[in-house]
Symmetry: C2
Subunit: 505 residues, 2 copies
């Protein structure tokens, strides 16, 4: 393979290598599923340090052009279709291009996270799922049987797009207990909280000219919606109390945003919870400038220490807050039920948006959830998972303390599923650590994918809910080892690469 | 209530009345849920024929501004919220307006259809649902129990966005039998066929500048997606063999559409099926001009006479056809499972679009469908519903022959769920008939809502699958009576209104 690297030019060697490899992939010189040379081999051939090639491959992987498979190497991404290039030539021009790519988009990250989580022997901290061992399988089975015996065909027919009214009333009662004044009429049932967010953005924004204020970093699935709907995200930095209010006002005045999206409790990915005072300030500023807030409460019930805080919606006297929630994180992801509370004036448009998307959420699943909630088991379930997750959180914090570099920084979360760790800024990036960690059979979520601005190159999001304490300790130990190996390699490789004008790592 | 009608001006009296009532509703002079005067009372007061007021109310109802409730009158639409006008004033400007309205949009029509279908005593021909009495409730219950016993928590967890692979493989096998060459990798599982259509349009079009060619009339849910995504629809007229190919070419050249959407078999709303030759021509023209086709096969399995015809996808050698299907019409709507077959080059973007929308389709429902299909019961089920629906089709055709005016026109469908009837063009409109029919406890779908161009003012879509033959006959008899009453009133009311420059009806 002919690649020419020049140390005299401004561009780092690894980017030169990545550029030339990208061209070969895009022109088909490197076919789909072709195996790239081992980094050690290519590095030797080109007379550069191996880390240069590792970085080049990481860059291409981040772009979705190559995939790394543990133990077998790096391959050009694509499909094992022998005549695929021919097929593509025959296709209309439309088939080719694609939407503008983020550095590593949420879908790719999610696919990678799911892939790694399924690999045998891998301890994956990358997902955002509840622990399978606590899912109330038998209770749901009973609920479904009860529903089908009771309702028969009605549970399998079309019904109202807004959702099954008894479930909406039940959710309204639950929200009333949390001082949100609603009735079942105010609730739209959605296919998980993700769809609630999607509906809200679809109704409230109008594409390219629109600006959405998000926390930086932000939930990946929301960034995905933003990309799909061509909304411009503006990130507000966080401090230990969440979204920085002192920055918010000037951003509102400068960008005139359509919406502010926020996860006030146990934020994904940072685990941060906004204290009451900050919540009040946020709602006040939004009301003052007439900017709606979309509040995501997916993790609210997963509190392990301290007392519950009021939701933004319960503090909202100006009817400026849209309130989204769901049962995927706290109960079961697989029934796909979430909900959205929107101001009355928006309700019809939200229902219309739901119907346009997929007509209605499965009435069977809605009724099963309703019947399950009626049994009162949910409270016991929450009690059980809170205890277990808290133990896992402590196990992970202890292991991080023990195995991570002393310069790493993190904040103890009061609940949720994630610890956000900032590794030393002068060390390897999280992407590099990820690629090294794969060799140690451990995975995590790379922090920068959660950033609309591509910031946080050294941050990791670590999920602590899916593995028991002993596995958590083992996984963090492996991650510490991967870090040390990478650091050792970086130290030994920095010398020859110092010639580049821009640092390689 | 002060309303001034002037016979000297060009605008018909009923539109003058509608305009003035609309203003009163929009300014709040007529509050939400206020009861409008009975048409007879208002007509007397204004010195016009009652049909003028009926028409004015029908116009406002079509705009969603008022609702008619059987036996109790016409009311201003809205919400029984005593301080609602105050609330709205406090809301950001964003809350107010709305997306551009079609004459009577699909969501309103659907809501009305569902509402009427639920009224006790109403025989509704307006829905597109399978008959509840044939839904295989117990077979599904067994399948769900089998899945939860076998897979446990895995059936309630997150999994691949593209769908449960064994189900995708099973659908691929089914399509292979229909001469479509696919593997499970080519199948995206969606929340019903509606979501498959939504994903396809989202990936293939880019909003306002885009043109989509549709049959005129067209499936309502598709028109809804078009409105939401601000796509410009261009309607192609149909003849008795479906979409008129002789018109297609010039429309492609003039509008350079992004996509052609078509239901080749048992078209919704007309029931028309494209013969083989027409299918070949359509695929050839699309391939020639490089315009993708989105084929909706929702009704394909509901054939009552004749032999199955090849799908467009099975005739497609240029990989230009996207193929969407689902189980809502043929099996059960309530599990919300559909699928999309897209060319390989589009697959990743389709999966990304699905994930952005709602992460994944319920894995429990996917597995339940897979397990149900494994039992082989689906073939028996189809056999059963085909026999029943055929009998119902015959009952409806016979009743139409007997009770409808001799000048009405319709085409016998070979399958599906609908008969499309064109009432005499010089008689009352379908909207007027609908409003009269409500008094006779019978409902249908108004033909013009299926038209991107607002055509077919005299057409009715009649569903024949949801009622047994005796109820079908009774419903059609009532519809015939409503027609005759309306016609009698029209005749007696035409005289005094002839003065208007534009005919009132």
């Amino acid at each position: 393979m002919s690649i020419q690297l020049r140390r005299q030019v401004d561009q780092p060697l690894y980017l030169q290598a990545a550029d030339q490899l990208r061209t070969k992939i895009e022109t088909g010189e490197l076919a789909a599923h072709a195996r790239l040379p081992a980094s050690r081999v290519l590095a030797k051939k080109l007379g550069v340090n191996r880390i240069t090639i590792v970085n080049a491959y990481a860059e291409l992987e981040a772009e979705g052009l190559v995939v790394t498979r543990v133990g077998s190497g790096t391959f050009v991404a694509g499909r094992p279709d022998s005549n695929s290039s021919e097929t593509i030539t025959d296709q209309p021009a439309l088939w080719r291009g694609g939407p503008p790519r983020r550095h590593w988009n949420a879908n790719q990250m999610f696919a990678e996270m799911m892939r790694m989580a399924r690999q045998p022997g891998v301890i994956s901290f990358s997902v955002g799922t509840p622990a399978s061992e606590f899912l109330p399988v038998n209770e749901f089975r009973r609920a479904i049987n009860d529903v089908l015996r009771r309702d028969g065909a009605a549970a399998l027919q079309y019904e109202e797009a807004a959702g099954y009214l008894p479930l909406r009333n039940m959710i309204a009662d639950y929200l009333e207990q949390k001082h949100i004044e609603v009735t079942g009429d105010d609730i739209l049932i959605t296919a998980g909280c993700q769809q609630a967010l999607n509906m809200a953005l679809r109704v409230l924004t109008r594409g390219r000219d629109n600006v959405l204020i998000v926390e930086d970093p932000c939930y990946l699935g929301l960034l995905d919606i933003i990309t799909a709907q061509r909304i411009t995200p503006v990130g507000v930095p966080l401090d230990e109390d969440g979204l920085r209010i002192d920055r918010l006002e000037q951003l509102i005045l400068r960008h005139r945003p359509q919406l502010i999206y926020v996860i006030p409790s146990f934020h994904n990915p940072t685990g941060i919870t906004m204290p009451l005072e900050r919540r009040r300030e946020l709602v006040d500023i939004a009301a003052h400038y007439g900017v709606p807030i979309l509040e995501d409460t997916s993790y609210d019930e997963l509190r392990y220490v301290g007392k519950a805080l009021p939701s933004l919606k319960s503090l909202d006297t100006a009817d400026i807050v849209l309130h989204a929630g769901g049962f995927s994180k706290t109960l079961v992801p697989g029934i796909r039920i979430g909900y959205l509370v929107a101001p009355p004036a928006l309700r019809d448009r939200m229902i219309a948006s739901k119907q346009t998307a997929d007509i209605l959420t499965s009435p069977l699943n809605q009724r099963a959830l309703h019947t399950y909630l009626q049994t009162g088991h949910f409270a016991d379930h929450l009690q059980q998972v809170r205890l277990a997750y808290r133990e896992r959180l402590e196990a992970m914090l202890a292991a991080i303390e023990q195995y991570f570099p002393a310069e790493a920084r993190w904040q103890r979360p009061d609940g949720g599923m994630y610890i956000w760790v900032e590794m030393p800024p002068d060390g390897p990036t999280a992407t590099n650590l990820y690629l090294m960690a794969i060799n140690y059979n451990v995975a995590f979520a790379i922090g920068s994918v959660f950033s609309a601005s591509g910031s946080f190159p050294h941050a990791l999001r670590l999920n602590f809910t899916t593995h028991p304490p002993a596995e958590i300790e083992e996984g963090i130990r492996r991650l510490g080892k991967a870090w040390k190996e990478l650091l050792a390699r970086q130290d030994s490789s920095l010398q020859p690469n110092r010639r580049s004008a821009v640092p390689i790592l």
